[in-house]
């Protein structure tokens, strides 16, 4: 097996190696699952039949690791996956630290740690012994999601243009699994470069897309269009809460990009924004002053309170907020 040097940033999930010990670290479940899957896949490819055990570190009992992961007389190849090391009990910590000194070649131990300080001593010991560390960082910001989509497509031998990626993130970006399966579906069902139009065909009816379209129209000062889109969304049963959230997110982006102007060292990535969001916000900011922007954010906060119970007519509360935002952007 080729030795792998792990960089300080760690290994990406898709480069997960087969090794006596692999640490899968970080909060992004989907990526951690894939990394664990890759170890099992490679173990099967190398050894043929392998025995797989799955242990919850919070429910660990003293001595289990010895039973499951020590080299045996017959040398059956095995994969032992220990999940949720971040919630492990003390018994596991003690045994795992001890076990680091007697790893076996035909047993592949995978430690999955979701983040946090618990078990830090173990993580440090694993890292300083030079074992591979696969890093599964949280994918929360839009810029991370954009990178994730491009990455998924590239590995599938496909690409999307900027508008296509953006439309996809807006439509199904709130859930990473959904985003991944949407990419898989588009790869399977379509040909050529994936553009915004194709995404719209497949995922255009989604709540988020609708919410973002209303918000886009509103901050661009398109009063009639934003209200028409809003009414359409609500007539198809879209809940007011995500509509308000989309407005808030849009105004937040404008304010953050406004903050970038005055600070030279600040990049789009620092603010959790994708480059296209920044470009777009820069254009939209032309319609806004600090005062109108502040008033719009307050109006949306008020609308959020109203749709969550402070008003008897949540639909009207959203419409009023959309109108306030759109007319603020429309006035010169």
């Amino acid at each position: 097996m080729a030795a792998r040097t792990s960089s300080r940033a760690g290994i990406a999930w898709h480069a997960t190696p087969l090794a006596p010990l692999v640490l899968v670290s970080g909060p992004e479940d989907l990526l951690a699952e894939r990394a664990v899957g890759l170890v099992i896949e490679q173990a099967r490819a190398t050894h043929g039949e392998v025995e797989i055990s799955d242990v919850d570190a919070a429910a660990y009992e003293s001595g289990m690791l010895d039973v499951l992961a020590s080299p045996s007389l017959f040398g059956e190849p095995r994969v032992v996956v220990v999940r949720r090391v971040e919630a492990c009990n003390d018994a596991f910590l003690t045994d795992a630290l001890e076990h680091l000194d007697h790893l076996a070649d035909d047993v592949h131990l995978v430690l999955q740690h979701g983040g946090g300080v618990r078990g830090k001593k173990l993580l440090d010991a694993v890292k300083s012994a030079g074992h591979p560390v696969v890093v599964c960082e949280a994918i929360k910001k839009d810029s991370d999601k954009t990178a994730f989509v491009s990455d998924e497509l590239r590995r599938a031998g496909r690409r999307a243009d900027a508008g296509g990626v953006r439309a996809l993130v807006e439509a199904v970006g709130s859930d990473l699994r959904e985003l991944a399966s949407a990419v898989a579906q588009l790869v399977a069902d379509t040909k050529g470069t994936i553009g915004a139009q194709v995404v719209e065909q497949y995922y255009g009816g989604r709540i988020e897309a609708t919410g973002f379209r209303v918000a886009d129209a509103a901050v661009a000062g398109k009063v009639a269009e934003s209200v028409a889109l809003l009414r359409h969304a609500m007539s198809t049963g879209v809940d007011p809460v995500p509509l308000v959230a989309a407005l808030a997110a849009k105004l937040r982006t404008l304010a953050k990009v406004a903050a970038m102007r005055g600070r030279s060292g600040m990049s789009a990535g620092d603010l959790g924004l994708a480059p296209w969001q920044v470009d777009r916000a820069r254009k939209e900011l032309g319609r806004w002053t600090p005062e109108t922007l502040a008033a719009a954010i307050d109006a949306v906060a008020q609308a959020d309170a109203e749709v969550k119970g402070a008003s008897r007519d949540p639909r009207f509360a959203v419409e009023r907020a959309v109108l306030r935002v759109a007319t603020a952007a429309a006035s010169d």
Partner: protein, 382 residues
């Protein structure tokens, strides 16, 4: 020593409770203990419960006293919800429990720490039990104010009002009971605005003090709309970190305890029936995390409010001692760079944000609207 030692600065209330313990004619079956957050409602209710069980009317060291205060006395049930509401099923369970005679103590006591978190329908279930209580059963309901519980319950319970204790009394408690340095105790008690639990955490945990300082440094850092929105993000992140620190260990311990009690410790694969229990626990923990986060964020708002109260005192030349003595520089800077009208407007904005948070508004959005009001440009009520 007595069970009343921890009930700080509540002489009148303690007198009422002691009379009830000593004289059966002054005793009643339902009590409503009210007072603002930090006045020590649950501490007072527990002390009263202990005094009721103690053969010595609350000596503080006998078996009855220590088990009640420690939450393990079989005849004293403490209901402290981490949820936003107390469920109707849970309440029915309490009502059934209250029908039983005490197993060994003198009374069966049910302490409901958040009686304000009860929907009206749930309150009605409770009402029936309070109307016709068994002879040896006592209900101790706690709420921020009498108006927080439905009038039918309020009218059947004996009211005991608590006040926010003076900071000197809280500091003294920290010194005598927790062995805190008097200087630190004084600063912490003022900064916590006499909230005993918060003061204790500030006095003992340097990281908590650090987080509080960060929160208080926010207003002076805001120049424009962009700063305000970024600062709001930072504030919400600090609150999340604080809430996480408060719950992480407890979550892990509860999980291990559940698995142990199910006899599933060390099982690699849980059978579906047990998995369901685990899922339920995870749901409860998530709900609790939401509430803790909300509470912590509200605490940050209270801290900011105390900062602006100090600012206003300086602007008006009132000459009172600052609540945030450690942050005199920030207070002075804000006092010089704004007018009293602006300070009042900022305090209003904090109040609005608290109301919105209580009404379930997205935390980041509510905080953004608040920090926007901290901009130097904002001169009048918007």
């Amino acid at each position: 020593m007595s069970v009343w030692d921890d009930v700080v600065g509540q002489e009148a209330a303690v007198r009422t409770f002691r009379e009830a313990v000593a004289d059966p004619r002054a005793m009643t079956h339902a009590w409503l203990v009210t007072g603002p957050p930090g006045s020590g409602r649950s501490t007072a209710a527990r002390a009263f419960a202990a005094a009721l069980q103690c053969p010595d009317d609350g000596c503080g060291h006998c078996h009855e006293c220590t088990t009640v205060l420690g939450g393990t006395h079989p005849d004293v049930t403490l209901v402290a919800t981490e949820r936003l509401t107390i469920g109707i099923e849970e309440t029915r369970g309490l009502v059934a429990l209250a029908q039983r005679a005490p197993s060994q103590g003198r009374w069966r006591v049910v302490v409901v720490e958040d009686a304000d978190r009860m929907a009206e329908r749930t309150s009605n279930v409770l009402l029936k039990a309070i109307e016709e209580p068994p002879e040896r059963t006592v209900w101790l309901l706690c709420a921020p104010s009498p108006q927080d519980v439905v009038v039918t319950i309020r009218s059947r319970a004996r009211l005991v009002g608590l006040r926010v204790p003076p900071p000197e009394a809280v500091a003294e408690l920290l010194v005598t009971r927790d062995g805190v340095d008097p200087e630190i105790a004084h600063v912490a008690a003022r900064a916590a605005q006499s909230h005993v639990g918060v003061a204790r955490r500030l006095a003992r945990d340097p990281e908590a003090r650090e987080r509080r300082s960060k929160v208080l440094s926010i207003p002076a850092s805001i120049r424009g709309v962009g700063d305000a929105v970024l600062a709001a993000g930072e504030l919400v992140e600090i609150a999340q970190a604080d809430a996480k620190a408060a719950t992480a260990d407890r979550d892990a311990a509860e999980r291990a305890e559940l698995l142990r009690s199910l006899g599933a410790e060390g099982e690699t694969r849980l059978p579906p029936a047990l998995r369901a229990q685990l899922t339920q626990l995870e749901k409860d923990q998530k709900r609790r995390a939401t509430r803790v986060q909300r509470d912590v964020l509200d605490r940050a708002m209270v801290d900011l409010l105390s900062l602006f109260r100090d600012v206003l005192m300086v602007q008006l030349g009132a000459g009172l001692e600052l609540m945030n003595v450690e942050h005199r520089e920030v207070v002075t800077e804000l006092a010089q760079s704004s007018t009293p009208e602006q300070t009042l407007h900022r305090m209003d904005a904090i109040g609005v944000a608290r109301t919105r948070l209580a009404g379930n508004v997205a935390p980041l959005l509510a905080v953004e609207a608040m920090t926007l009001a901290f901009r130097p440009q904002v001169r009048q009520l918007g």
